[in-house]
Symmetry: D4
Subunit: 208 residues, 8 copies
């Protein structure tokens, strides 16, 4: 008996960045802030690198939730940007779903703050409409580990694929022969241990 | 292939608070007491806010298990209150089940102490009778993390939705335009980080 | 759509204690030794209390694995005791399976050391033969948390119910009116927090 | 209703060691390095002990990822060794899959670095082709626990069996009467607590 | 050889609350927010209860650091309130030191955010001027545990007494016969476990 | 330059058990309850074993703090027992200090609940009067680790010796030749790992 | 009795960066790599910001220890750079000590990899020669927490001041009126939570 | 004001290995067994490498404590070996102290099991007689972290230097120019991360 492998395909995937807002980020306490910032920017960089259609959305950005993190805004100046007037589940916002469907992609990569709401709600809605959903667990944050585990359980039970940004990049890339330098640079910028490997390697091979 | 999204609907949900008794609370060691107290009261406040039918029950409250936490009693003076004469699984108590069925709701939000007994037993019974069950994991406590994980696994495998009070509130509310002030106040009262965001925001915008 | 509730029934359950041997216990590092000792003895006491047929088995007890913990031997002097000559999975031992089948019970409560071997192997074998299996996670120990989590995942995926001794006792007892004193004593002996509740309660009510 | 027990059979199992390279190992931070090194070598030793066909593969070993750990190379001088020219998922490499199919085995034991990529990708591919997959969780490492948990969830949901090297050895061996000395030596070399048990035992029994 | 016991005396102690501002609180990650909020308010309540002279100060409160937490402001409407124009070490602000000296007290109880700056700097300055300094460690917060441990080591090495709010209250009160009800209420409001003890106790004794 | 070794001498030591009361024990959350109960009873057993003068004291035992743990009362039926009418620092109670001075001992072994109050206050008072003080850290409990660390720092800075019950027993005993059986039994009763060693040892040597 | 406050003075302080080399960094496991990288760069940025004389040194940089992290080299192109030919304690290298003495500063801020060697050895040597030593604990890394705690204890016992980079910056700056923009930018670049505060603040105040 | 640097000198140091016995090792639970075994053997290897006089001692090795770990015995066949007939503090054994004094060394490096007894007692005795004492914290083990912290505090307060084996080796070696290959091999054998660095380095430089 075989199981299907829900495998990411860069020609069939879109990225949804939900509510990474300056105020809401102060609620995130299940991941260290230095690491979390790095993960979110790494995800954004890989969306860019693989030229995946990317959709930004925010909740109440003129209130205490605060504005979208400026780095994300800057990276995707032309992306659909839906400032939701009130819907908590982004999927309840027609423009958001329209923007997704306009991409024609069937695989949705979702990250956001906070995990059990801004990520889980649209993830469950998308699964119910037949999309394949890939949750970027390390670019999604919430109040504490107990909350995270509950949210993961709910999403996983409904068929969401739990992934992290590095696995995502690797599954999208498939073969280093497609391009070494670009992806290696992305890894070097976001994985200090990898950067150190490259530094040592380059020093030694340049000394030849 | 789609998966169904078991989504909370405030017109179809009831809340069951099981055995939050002064004595039993001393058994709870998987969540810090300040946080746990806050979570339970937040859940009670949201039941009130959304006007969800709420049912209270206790086990042996005249013995060492102790009386129901007074705050809960005070918040729901008119709620059905079933002091069970002996049944450990509240679902084995006819009055309790009758009270639930009298609400006409098909979605049950359950929290209690201790998780693997007072929550898991009625949750499994309710699932077996076709209810949708939403366990409030952060308003349910038990002896330690190992016990919690076992209990979650058992409930999740049977189809219970694991949620926390904040996700619950968001899924019930659906859209901020239904009401901002009431829910924001509830969040401000129970999420210190959110209160701080609001304090800073209000100070700055009042200074305009 | 309903899910079945695999509920313990004291008239249909047997207990299997697998390889709680003095040497093997030194391998257990995922649970603190004071707590683990208490959990194993609590499980034994409840098997006794509910008069559940109990089967003891050991692996190579004359070698470094060491003898069965004397307290268990003493509690069940007349229980079937299978010192396996070599089979690692107790279910591969004919006498062990015969002893189980002789009880006529269809619900098997299993605990042992180490979790991923002495518990998981017979649990998976029993599930494959149509038994209902209840793993006592806190009376089963192993090398570390990573190993435990792997073992739980494997057993849970095959349908085992993960429980702890306290939940077990409560599900078997069903109603305090069946007997208060016996079970309360058992809890007082194995749950320090519960004992304290009883001490305070008894002191205050005796002062009346 | 019975569940099938996917049980390892030493006549039907092969071992895949994926990308245990000197550079990549510096990325592993979810397991302490002393323990991880021990686990990988224990897995290699048991593959040898049970004479399981073993296949080695590396990714970009002339770059910063570094060479295969020399101990593994030395233990399996005649094993198929596939230095992949670029495929990230080893299953995308034809030679790798051919080598696996040439063994004629249907049970694949997989370990590697990093878990969510080098292990999860071929595991999911193999499951999709109908193989039984056994992931050696403690001989596979990655960036942190959050990443590990995501990877485990993805593999487990697709039917992979999560195991550790000790459970693997026990399930393959089945009965100590097949051989005591060899396996006991392997355990003594890789489990300090077991070695201590044997030291004490041997000292006491030699003193007779 | 005897050591002197630097013992708090309610007639000789003043409380300094340094920079508990809505923005800065989002930097505190070494203590869970529910617990931290409770600890700060408990400290404020006890300052009030023991009628200790209390001094409030803030750093740059019109900028991103945000306003003083409103609850503190409300509790001490008549306390000296020094909004520092720029000094990071509050002790560098003349008005602050004058306010302290005006109290005539020689024992300073200090709490603030963040520990290694807003608490440690004035603590070290005060010790250098011959004051006895009592740091309220659980009402002071900072980025992470590593930072906290460094800060504690620096303060303790210079002779600061590390205390928590509960110990502080007990050392100030000295004898329950001075007043039971007031202090018990304070404890009940800030220690959920204590509140539960009182609830059970009161229920049982009222039933007499 | 030599440092003096403050070494316990069984002829010069007394034990003070401060406020191990049924209610107060529910406040202890820095040590697991199974372990804490064991540690307190181990300390009591060793006080008995070494015939050290032992003094019991309680705070407000007729209120919510609850009665002294019955096991302690039972073990020391003839010990001075000071139910303090209100003094929080036991050293402020004349009868308590008189009882201590009546022993003629200069080394005081102190344990109690909670650490930063019931242990630290009398410890600091005793140090100030020239006693040598040995705090039994693992038989003293408090709210959380942060509180414990603060309390330890305060006591250690004043010259208290931080010890655990096992080290205490070993330092008091000095030489196994004074008595093997009694102390080994005490260890076997309170250290599961040690009991297992003895079980295996006895089994093997009895088989000779 | 007063204690002296060893307070950093930007006119009397120099920074020593010891062995932050690409290979050695793979040994650091007591701090998460994202956070550690950030801390080291923050320290470098503040040395630059306060124009503190900075000295770089490496150990065996042409061997497996690897080259100095390129970012540090780039930030301090004109700083003394001592590639030590073999001395493990940098203080044993004459050029290193000469470079320090040439600065004329008496306060040494030291960070390095690994803590117990590259930081502790020169710290202890400098203390022995009468320098004031400030260890930057969060920009120094080592194998694990046990090692770190041992190293801190050794340095602290000899009089080293344990600080983190943020406290360092604050103590050096003294007063925000000296410059707001530069330091706020530095904090914004290295403290994600602070950056978020500034983003929200700027958005709200720009909207005025 | 300068502090003295108690610096290890290989010509003035001896190593004491106290009670690393097969039975007692099962009591060690504050360090993972794979890591602990490695640390103890690394310490032994460095004693050998630096030709430090080494003294072995055991407590009751014919009883349940078990024999000395065979690897240690094998490494030091000619070292003084004192099987103590009963003294718990090794320093109370005349032969042990004689053997130490016979070395003529004034710096004692001590490791053992368990930390608070077998290490702390002789450490405190040695300090009292004017020796410099260096405790090898990572080659000494005990029941849990609480016990370890108490033991460290007691030893550190009396002037013991807390070190780990790697720092020890570095302080003894002083300069890599004394010998590279021997020490690098020792590090490679006991630090997996270092071994990986060397593997990558050697591969790259051999490819030149």
């Amino acid at each position: 008996m075989t199981t299907s492998y829900k495998r990411l395909d860069k020609d069939n995937a879109a990225v949804l960045l939900v509510d990474h807002q300056a105020g809401l980020l102060s609620l995130v306490r299940d991941i260290d802030p230095d690491r979390f910032k790095n993960n979110v920017l790494a995800l954004a960089d890989l969306a860019k690198y693989f030229k995946l259609p990317t959709i930004l959305t925010t909740s109440f950005e003129t209130g205490p939730n605060g504005p979208l993190v400026p780095e994300l805004k800057a990276l995707f100046p032309d992306a659909p940007y839906i400032a939701r007037p009130g819907q908590i589940n982004a999927w309840d916002n027609e423009d958001f779903v329209k923007a997704i469907k306009a991409t024609g992609k069937k695989q949705l990569i979702i990250a956001g703050v906070v995990t059990e709401v801004c990520v889980a709600f649209p993830a469950l809605s998308a699964l119910a409409e037949g999309f394949e959903v890939f949750v970027v667990t390390d670019a999604s944050g919430t109040f504490n580990e107990l909350t995270r585990q509950s949210a993961w359980d709910r999403m996983s039970s409904s068929g969401a694929q739990l992934m992290t940004w590095f696995g995502l990049a690797c599954e999208l890339h498939r073969d280093w022969r497609n391009d070494v330098e670009g992806l290696a640079t992305l890894f070097s910028n976001h994985i200090p241990d990898y950067r150190n490997l490259m530094t040592s390697y380059n020093t030694l091979t340049n000394n030849k």
